[in-house]
Amino acid sequence: MTPCPSGMAADVAYGLFQMGQNAVAIGKVGVAAGTGLAIIAAPTGVGEVPAAALVAGGGMTALTGHIMQLGGAGFLASQGDFGPLDSVLASTLNLNVPGVPSITPTNPFSSNFSSQAGASTCRH
């Protein structure tokens, strides 16, 4: 069995993966909030431009977060920890990596955020 990734580079990769998760969550909320603001602003027309900026910024944040997530998960998978990759695939494509126990992604906004590392089969 491959040992769990360790060392500075693995720590950075775990951090990158978690930052990506946060960025995706924040970006998605930004898109929804911006769209909501734009809808409220529709009768008056005031505030639609900032709302559009919020939507564009949120979308970009979410996409960048996905790349960070996938990058971190890919790095860790190449070193033997398939948990983060499984978590990304399960949450975005509803797929599971064979042989990895299914992991339910947790909400980065919830109070038990520190358990995010539970996405890894190596770190808890």
Binding site: P5, S6, G7, M8, A9, A10, V12, A13, L16, A25, K28, V29, V31, A32, A33, T35, G36, A38, I39, I40, A42, P43, T44, G45, E48, V49, A52, A53, V55, A56, G59, M60, L63, T64, I67, M68, L70, G71, G72, G74, F75, L76, A77, S78, Q79, G80, N107, F109, S110
Partner: protein, 141 residues
């Protein structure tokens, strides 16, 4: 004392704020799922259309339905470059992870810089090309 029209506007914004707060509450106590995001937008859109049609909020005759004056402009070459940068960034980290494992450089600064330096560069290019390739504008009424 506010006029009937002002009361309508106050009620309109009060209900909109309540829907917003409901969305934030459900997201924090549960999870900000895609279904919740989309549900919130649909509920908000329906509420605003009903408010406009029923006269709860006074609108000018030229006022259009929510979001109909939004325009997204795509530059395909820039978006393709962004996609290539994203794929390269992820592929680079997978490759670098394998190289660091084989060469046992995981716990060195050289290893960290080797893996994440190019990744950050490619991620920056991805954001740059994405910003070039996608513009959301609001049309004139």
């Amino acid at each position: 004392m506010p006029s009937l029209r002002q009361w309508g506007t106050i009620a309109y914004f009060a209900i909109a704020v309540l829907i917003f707060l409901g969305f934030i509450y459900l997201g924090i106590t549960g999870e900000f799922t895609t279904a919740l995001d989309i549900g919130f937008v649909i509920v908000m859109w329906c509420f605003v259309v009903i408010a406009m049609k029923s006269g709860l909020v006074k609108v000018s005759p030229q006022a259009r339905l929510p979001l109909t004056n939004w325009h997204a402009k795509f530059k395909v070459p820039s978006l393709l470059r962004a996609t290539v940068c994203a794929v390269l960034a992820v592929a680079w980290l997978v490759f670098a992870g394998r190289v660091l494992l084989k060469s046992q450089l995981n716990d060195t600064w050289i290893g960290v810089i080797f893996a994440f330096g190019p990744f950050l560069g490619l991620l920056g290019l991805f954001v740059k090309f994405l910003m070039d390739g996608l513009k959301v504008t609001v049309g004139r009424r």
